[in-house]
Symmetry: C2
Subunit: 556 residues, 2 copies
């Protein structure tokens, strides 16, 4: 029996998972890993935190070396080595040593492509000054610039990584400007969930410019699309990544319409001897069933292992991708899974939306923090389509639980029945996830119809009456214009004060509103609850003002 | 239409959930809540923390009053009022005002029993000195005794509540003795998962007496079953609760073999007009399908709402109970769901067991804490039967995720595919729950067979060879007696040094062991992994020494 020869192009998450798994499955194979960069196994998700000094030692970022991988797994790992071309007929790869320039040809029985993705760079004058943060070389370059002690920084792109860059540059003491093309930070979230993040950034002194583009990078400043100039001694960008499909495309492998390598659910490309994994590959979206680009480390790791299993002849089937993600920012935790409301509405899906504002744990135990949760549900089937959370402690836990419920095919109503660990410092007897289920159940059962913050204006224009059921003290601290205040506990006595017409009821978070709707409905009044109450409306207003500030800026 | 009349016996979690839900479903009903105690809505899970001073204000414990419930929900709430007898034919309840002694008869259309459970009291001389902690009256009594400034305390029972009592009494500065009849603290957990808890208690100066009973309470000391005497100026007990079925039994309602009120999956008792919920009621266990007593606040709340739905004519079906629980203790978080290994082995179920020791988040981001996780799986179907976790940050999250996976019918292998929120400060690209799935998959696929810590002695007696694949530095700090040390990275070169026979391989946590087993198997050696590695073995040894200490004490 001659031993197999496996070639893996690209190290890090996906490639290294494939290589080590292949070794565990086949002790006798030749396994060669080719990595263009100088490091084959490093903590790419830790790079922003090394920049910020939260991770103090550069060595902490380096997880494995070619030598350690060689002695433990018998891998032949070659860094600064580029795969130049694939000859599919000959089943060989032309390989170039980037240090010596020497080229060799390597044969394979199976080839794994894990080339990753390359940062998108806007074509603009001075664009070369924008640094990115994908590998160790990048972070070394950025650190070298930071050692010159710039006073200010420009971050381009307010996605998950962009916000981590901002946090860490603020942590270093720089004055930071954040420029984002979209109307909001964190584009995967809905605007009212993202608005508090922009507010938190501004409170921390970050100059947040939404709906704005950088058009030119000068020596120490940047020109923006609204004509203003911002300081930019140090420039870091994270405006997205593009699958690195050069090698695959040149070899004639199928590329999908989203621009990633197309693979089957066994991760095989259009060539039966070539597999592909990681950020370069299109995933199947769990909500739409369509292909989509999802650049997440968890999927890269998982798919690396699965590709190895497939190569070893095991039966594998890749699960569709939800795209669960989280970011920590200045004490906030922001997490999401599945699809946001805005995207589902755009594709015309009939949905129900639930906003809640629960405490991370019981209010009577010290240290409870309020969070905002959002659940998006198929209106017909009660299927959970997405969830978002923002707050402090315990937000990641709730999104993980919901992502797991989605994977298990539980409906929104089923969340009411989850048995989650409860003690006063960890949760409430009705966990926030249970509460989402309760609210969903009330909607399924038709008990408490609700409308969303962005539907309120239209409702009031159509003649609905807005009833604020909070206490006068709460109302004095801020109220929705045009509302009538009758506290919940007084509704029974004062029902005659309510004008004719449909009533839109609201409280602070939605819970008293629910009780009021039930009461009013049974007293013969048509009533709906303003989902998420005053707090969600307020976040929605904040999102709107961010977007409007941009409109004004453009007009001016 | 005459309005309905609903009577609810017992307030707090279950009763109040039923009452408020009934109101939201029926604005016109008469809803009367009868509560024997002085408070109808209080934070019973917060009582130990008020005792310890963590919750500073007594008022924080009081959530709702009869007046607030009256004005908001139109409930007729009567505290210090006892239901004396049910006349099922007449559909009336004989009610006694405990203050005036006056008795009245209240009619009902539907009756909800939520009487809760009463603390078990061991029959022993001086037993009256043992305080319990079920309601506000209890905590007032305990606080009065603590104000006399006892120097030491005895806690009887090392279950979840017992440990909370210990933590809070230590927090108050008392010298605490903890006496537990079983061989371990936290009886719902497996011994090797509970052993570190006992160690932590001892490190904190708590005198932990396992396998021991209190036989007599004297003026300021207690006599134990091993003949020793311990200081006991203050005595608090939590040795379990007994469903309060007096009223139900006297009315001839069916009582189950576990001693709780028997209800159907619509929470209806054997009388079609009477429902029952909460700690007084038997639940159906999700693992065995048999009836079981589970006294958890989450279930009481959920069932209160479901009983109201059922009474209102809605279609309800109670889910079987997993029994998820968590406790915080001196910086440790300990959580569990489903069944432990020991119970499943006792009933003869064929199971697989996985122990891991992952970090709460990536090792390169500051503040990661190591936890121990355990997963118990049906050997044939891969169904998840239980999970336990102990550590710091993030243990509750992982148990919640697993409990959700169980509710969704996911298998142990499916855990590998969960998409959980990852950023370096929250998790790892392979979350600890994913890792459990990976290990489970390796077992399903027959790649890496394993044995448990408690099977090692028998294996070595049968002639197996124990191979420690850790580094010499690790071995020097402590090793399993009788092991041969060959570091993982040297196995290929030194394979000839291994004696004949089956090899039991182990590392620190199980991961290098897995790689070693794969390597050895492919080099023609029969090898199994010691599940959980040295750390699980060490915890098992600690559990064994706790149990043996008891044996010695009894013998002496």
């Amino acid at each position: 029996m001659t031993s197999k020869r496996y070639l893996i192009i690209g190290g890090v998450a996906g490639g290294m998972s494939a290589a080590t798994r292949l070794r565990r499955l086949d002790e006798h194979a030749d396994i060669i890993v080719l990595e263009r960069g100088g490091h084959v196994s490093f903590a790419n998700c830790g790079l922003p935190y090394y920049l910020g000094g939260v991770i103090e030692e550069r060595s902490s970022l380096l997880l494995q070396t070619p030598a350690s991988l060689g002695s433990r797994f018998g891998l032949d790992v070659r860094v600064r080595t580029e795969a130049v071309a694939i000859d599919r007929d000959a089943k060989t790869v032309l390989v170039r040593d980037l240090v010596t320039g020497e080229e060799t040809t390597e044969a394979y029985d199976a080839l794994v492509l894990s080339p990753g993705a390359t940062p998108v760079r806007p074509p603009m004058p001075g664009g070369d000054r924008m640094l990115t943060l994908r590998d160790i070389d990048d972070v070394d370059r950025a650190m070298a610039e930071l050692e010159v002690a710039p006073r200010n920084a420009l971050v381009i792109g307010a996605g998950f990584i962009g916000l981590e860059m901002v946090e860490n540059l603020v942590h270093r003491g720089l004055d930071v400007t954040l420029v984002e093309l979209g109307d909001q930070v964190l584009p995967p979230l809905d605007p009212e969930m993202a608005a508090p993040v922009a507010d938190r950034l501004r409170d921390a002194g970050v100059d947040v410019r939404l709906g704005t583009q950088v058009t030119e990078l000068r020596a120490s400043t940047a020109l923006l699309s609204d004509g203003t100039t911002v300081p930019a001694e140090f420039v870091l960008g994270s405006i997205g990544v593009r699958p690195d499909t050069r090698l695959a495309a040149a070899a004639g492998l199928e590329i999908g319409e989203r621009g990633g390598i197309r693979v089957g659910d066994d991760l095989r490309t259009s060539d039966p001897h070539i597999w592909a994994i990681g950020d370069a590959v299109e995933k199947v979206d769990a909500i739409s069933g369509e292909h989509r680009l999802v650049a997440l480390a968890g999927l890269a790791n998982r798919h690396g292992r699965l590709a190895a299993d497939a190569i070893a002849g095991r039966d594998v089937r890749v699960r569709d991708a939800l795209g669960t993600a989280v970011v920590g920012l200045m004490g906030l935790t922001i997490a999401t899974t599945g699809w946001p409301e805005k995207l589902l509405r755009r594709v015309g899906r009939e949905i129900r939306v639930v906003h809640t504002h629960p405490a991370s744990h019981t209010g009577y135990y010290p240290g409870a923090e309020q969070m905002a949760l959002k659940l998006v549900v198929d209106a017909e089937t009660d299927e959970i389509l997405g969830a978002q959370g923002i707050g402090g402690d315990g937000v990641d836990k709730r999104i993980d639980v919901i992502a797991t419920a989605m994977a298990g095919g539980l409906t929104a109503s089923d969340l009411a029945d989850l048995e989650l660990a409860y003690a006063p410092q960890f949760s409430s007897a009705k966990d926030p996830v249970n509460m989402l289920g309760y609210v969903a159940l009330n909607a399924v059962e038709g008990l408490t119809p609700s409308i969303q913050w962005h539907e309120l204006d239209a409702a009031m224009e159509a003649g609905d009456v807005l009833v604020d059921v909070r206490t006068p003290g709460e109302v004095a601290a801020g109220a929705i214009p045009g509302s009538i205040n009758i506290p919940l506990d007084e509704i029974r006595a004062r029902i005659d004060e309510l004008p004719a017409g449909r009533l839109v009821v609201h409280c602070k978070v939605g819970q008293r509103g629910h009780t009021a709707v039930r009461l009013l409905a049974q007293l013969g009044r048509e009533a709906v609850n303003l989902d998420g109450g005053y707090l969600t409306w307020q976040a929605g207003e904040s999102a709107r003002s961010h977007a409007e500030a941009r409109e004004t800026a453009i007009a001016a």
